[in-house]
């Protein structure tokens, strides 16, 4: 299977281990990820704060390049890149004038028929029945699935999962033998792009998320976004320094958790790159507080 692939800037830098684990898992599943040739930065937070046209043109160019390379689907591992590409695609589809402007700027044709695949969707296929992969080492831990804000919002544009209490990552974790906890901070803000300018706010917000997960018995936090990972893992020392709270909860990329379950090595998955050591306590954890049954699909909840 061959898919287009947009790494984005962070996968080459601070989120190297996401790239490593992604390629390792893709390799195991027989998926070849082909980078979009001559790709540029998606614009992230900076572009849409400065200029609407730039904010749409940068992802627009990436999509146009993907179309030119004949790619039907493009995997976008970074949540921010995914969000920018999806929003840009939505705006270009709705506004003909904007479309013409962007086409002129990027000097390429644009049809808007590339399908964007986020990390959760890709892993659902990797772990799906058709892929034929077996879970060799079940990831038997209680985990807090942290989606971050960009994977499911804005709901009208992304149309992916439930915006307030998403379940896609929880289901994937269950498939590899983990026990996802039910917790209210799945999509709460971690501080996002304020990582450098207002580290104190990042510390406060991320601290809350960690506290909520630890309180409900999580042994690890699973993330799908390099920004979330940076705030929750890389900034752990700042959190301790600025809030006085100390957490040892490891933050693991979804691809790393899946990779471990499929039998790949910690080294191959880049676990050693994390600032917070990824270790799981040997003794059984105390029983977590009673959770509402996780299997119940609230969309089909009992009628009155």
């Amino acid at each position: 299977m061959k898919w287009g692939y947009f790494p984005g800037c962070s996968l080459l830098g601070s989120a190297r281990e996401l790239r490593e684990s992604l390629l390792a898992v893709a390799g195991k599943a027989g998926i070849e990820l082909q980078e979009i040739p001559d790709w540029n930065c998606c614009g992230a937070t900076a572009a849409h704060n400065v200029s609407r046209l730039l904010a749409v043109a940068l992802p627009g160019r990436i999509l146009a390049l993907a179309e030119k390379a004949g790619m039907k689907e493009v995997v976008v591992p970074c949540s921010a890149c995914y969000n920018r590409l999806a929003v840009a695609r939505h705006e270009l589809a709705a506004d003909e004038h904007l479309r013409e402007q962007v086409k002129a700027l990027v000097e390429m044709d644009y049809r808007g028929d590339v399908k964007l695949v986020n990390l959760l969707e890709m892993l659902a296929i990797v772990l799906g029945k058709d892929a034929g992969l077996k879970v060799e080492k079940p990831f038997a831990h209680q985990v807090a699935c942290y989606y971050g804000c960009l994977l499911v919002r804005p709901p009208k544009v992304l149309k992916f999962d439930r915006p307030e209490d998403p379940q896609a990552m929880d289901e994937l974790m269950r498939k590899i033998g983990a026990e996802p906890i039910a917790w209210p901070d799945k999509v709460e803000c971690c501080g996002a792009g304020l990582s450098v300018s207002r580290t104190d706010l990042v510390a406060k917000l991320s601290s809350r998320i960690l506290a909520s997960a630890v309180k409900r018995g999580a042994e690890a936090m699973i993330v799908a976004c390099p920004m979330c990972h940076a705030n929750l893992d890389m900034r752990r020392e700042d959190i301790t320094r600025l809030t006085g709270e100390h957490y040892s909860l490891p933050v693991v990329y979804l691809t790393q958790a899946v990779g471990l379950a499929l039998g790949l090595s910690e080294k191959d998955l880049g676990l050693h790159r994390h600032l917070v050591k990824v270790v799981f306590p040997a003794q059984p954890k105390p029983a977590p507080p009673p959770q509402p049954p996780a299997e119940k699909k609230p969309a089909e909840a009992a009628e009155e």
Binding site: E164, D165, P184, P289, P292, K296, P298, A299, A301, E304
Partner: protein
């Protein structure tokens, strides 16, 4: 030979100030077919009308044109005058030389010329007018009331007390609607069931009312005064004539844990059940979806123990046909469920409930016998948060309108809670307080000042569970959007009032228009709130728009008054501006080719197929025929007919072409 009389009105200075009426009258008198051209200061006045009447008699006029204001003003006035003088009223037309001429142009030759031309157009039309006579349609003096809530009950009682027959159809096993589920009503805190049940009994016992409970409207045909309806009496599984309402069947039923609809899901009922103790009729219903007998073929405990052998497992639905003259739609409303709120947890928490569920908690006949208890663990809540505008006034939820009753019932709920749990803390998160009715504002003040309910102006963005409490995160906008976090034991959402899920289907059955929210449409929002655009069908209660009980009752009585007016004579007179398919002598019978395109386009389904037969009953020809009771006179069929076999009386092809050619 045409003998048309033209009468031009000065309308004081309104017309005469800009149009040279004398010149126009002289010109009009010269038109071919016109035998009189007169002008007068005020044609609509008594002397003005006398002028017309005298002219009709003396000059033996065959048609009258009054050039004055808009026909929308005085056409009935002049037509009546003509009728009094013995001329068919439909031989009188008006030329609009005021709104369309004198009032919109300067005084000039061109203006007078325009007025003269407008008069000539009308003269040419009137020459081709034919005398028309009002159509009489019989009226069946029975009313059908759909819905047995407070609005339906009121309408049924009013019509029945006026001496007419009423058929009341209610889809639930008992009448009473949502009002029966309430514990107390604002602003008096009257016990809801105490004031409602006497009316329910009156309905059940009224000699003029036939009650079909656990029944639904199957189909409607016909038109005002002459509806043919089919009602589906759903099978209760019980012979109502034998059943005494003793209740042994429910006591013996082994399936006891079915969520009760009457208790809004908070209480439980059995498979064979009566929805509540005050149900009318007090006869049980077997819930076939949950009954062991229907699911597995076993049990039959109710049948075993019924002292009257009234259980009938093989009972089938029955279709009842009836003829009625008027229909009142009083089918009520629904409210959003807590699972419709993703930000409040998708309904997963049992301790987040909606307004109707709180009513059941507070009700003495409810699942907790009136004690306020958390549904999850049965403990008494120490802190309760009430959230107003949950879903209403929210574009993101697709409900931009206000549900009208929530501010009042939220204050009521908070008060009831404080009356029952004195030391408890009650918070209300609100956007605005809408308390416009009589004694309403005072009621809300009472909640705040006497019962110590804390009102916070702001919305709640999230609710989640933590350590057995509900963390409510809201804002206090009066303090400058300060975030407010309350750890509550129970949260009550005043969820938006919405139309019933089958409101659209009902509206289509009745051929009544409805708005984008599926509330049924009134004929005019200001002046005709109880009628619909469909003749003979009236509205009462919340099915038309969110409203409270006093308004529903008032509207129901209004609808009943309209029904009584309709029934006040045994014949209904209709304006004869309707379409007619031509008929001629055999062997042609009609130029209609029976393509029935007209049937397809008629918005009122007023075209019928007529089989023209010979004396032996053989069909010689099928042609279209217009139902005089249904046709509203739009003329779409006339424009459409390829052979022009159908024409519109009052705006016939001959008339319209003549008008146009006179320009």
């Amino acid at each position: 030979m045409s003998r048309i009389g033209v009468f031009i009105c000065h309308c004081g200075e309104n017309i005469a100030g800009t149009v040279d009426v004398v010149k126009a009258a002289q010109a009009a008198a010269q038109f071919p077919g016109v035998v009189q051209g007169a002008e007068y200061k005020y044609m609509c006045s008594d002397p003005g009308q006398s002028l017309i009447k005298e002219a009709i008699r003396e000059k033996k006029l065959t048609g009258v044109v009054v050039a004055a204001c808009s026909p929308r003003m005085h056409e009935p006035t002049f037509r009546r005058a003509c009728a009094e003088a013995g001329l068919n009223p439909f031989l009188c037309e008006m030329a609009n030389i005021r709104e369309h001429c004198s009032w919109v142009h300067e005084k000039s030759e061109a203006t007078t010329r325009k007025a003269t031309e407008l008069i000539r157009i009308m003269v040419e039309k009137v020459k081709r007018n034919k005398p028309l006579y009002p159509i009489k349609v019989p009226v069946t003096k029975t009313a059908l009331v759909l819905g047995g809530g407070i609005a339906g009950i009121q309408a049924a009682l009013d019509v029945a007390n006026a001496g007419h027959q009423v058929i009341l159809v209610e889809k639930d096993p008992s009448i009473g609607g949502h009002m029966l589920q309430l514990s107390e009503t604002f602003p008096t805190l009257d016990c809801s069931q105490c004031i409602l049940t006497p009316r329910m009994v009156e309905v059940a016992q009224h000699p003029n009312i036939t009650l079909y409970s656990y029944s639904e409207l199957e189909s409607v045909e016909g038109f005002i005064g002459n509806f043919k309806v089919k009602i589906r009496k759903k099978a209760r599984g019980v012979d109502e004539k034998l059943c005494t309402g003793c209740g042994i069947c429910s006591q013996k039923c082994p399936k006891k844990k079915i969520p009760s609809e009457f208790d809004a899901g908070l209480g439980k009922r059995t498979a064979i059940y009566v929805p509540c103790p005050q149900a009318i009729p007090n006869k049980p219903v077997i819930d076939r979806a949950n009954c062991t007998y229907y699911l597995k073929g076993k049990c039959k405990a109710c049948e075993k123990f019924c002292p009257r052998q009234a259980i009938r497992f093989d009972q089938k639905d029955e279709l009842v046909e009836a003829e009625v003259g008027a229909i009142v739609a009083a089918t009520g409303f629904d409210i959003l469920q807590t699972r419709d709120f993703p930000e409040y947890g998708y309904g997963q928490s049992q301790d987040i409930i909606n307004g109707l569920q709180f009513e059941r908690l507070a009700s003495a006949s409810g699942p907790t016998l009136g004690a306020i208890k958390r549904p999850s663990d049965g403990k008494e809540p120490e802190t309760v948060v009430f959230i107003a505008c949950a879903g209403s006034r929210d574009q993101a939820k697709g409900i931009p309108y206000c549900s009208k009753i929530c501010c009042m019932y939220t204050a009521k709920h908070a008060m009831l809670y404080k009356h029952k749990v004195h030391h408890g803390k009650a918070y209300v998160f609100y956007m605005d307080i809408r308390a416009g009715g009589k004694m309403y504002e005072e009621f809300v003040r009472r909640a705040i000042e006497e019962d110590g309910v804390i009102y916070v102006r702001g919305r709640v963005s999230r609710i989640y569970e933590e350590d057995g409490k509900l963390v409510v995160k809201g804002a206090d906008t009066l303090l400058g959007a300060q975030p407010v976090e309350i750890r509550a034991d129970l949260v009550v959402l005043a969820t938006a009032m919405v139309a019933n899920p089958d409101a659209e289907a009902l509206a289509q059955k009745l051929r009544v228009s409805y708005d984008p929210y599926h509330f049924l449409s009134e004929a005019h929002p200001k002046l005709r709130p109880v009628e619909t655009n469909t003749g003979g069908i009236f509205l009462a209660g919340a099915c038309q728009a969110p409203k409270d009980i006093p308004e529903a009752v008032a509207q129901a009585s209004g609808a009943a008054a309209k029904v009584s007016a309709l029934f006040s004579s045994s014949e209904l007179s209709r304006e004869p501006v309707i379409a007619v398919v031509n008929r001629t002598a055999p062997p042609i019978f009609s130029t209609c080719t029976a393509c029935f395109l007209c049937e397809k386009v008629c918005p009122y389904q007023a075209i019928e197929r007529e089989e023209i037969k010979d004396r032996k009953g053989n069909v010689l020809k099928v042609a279209a025929k217009v139902n005089q009771g249904l046709c509203q006179g739009c003329g779409t069929c006339v424009a459409l007919c390829r052979v022009k076999a159908i024409d519109l009386q009052g705006f016939s092809n001959e008339q319209v072409y003549a008008e146009m050619m006179a320009v």
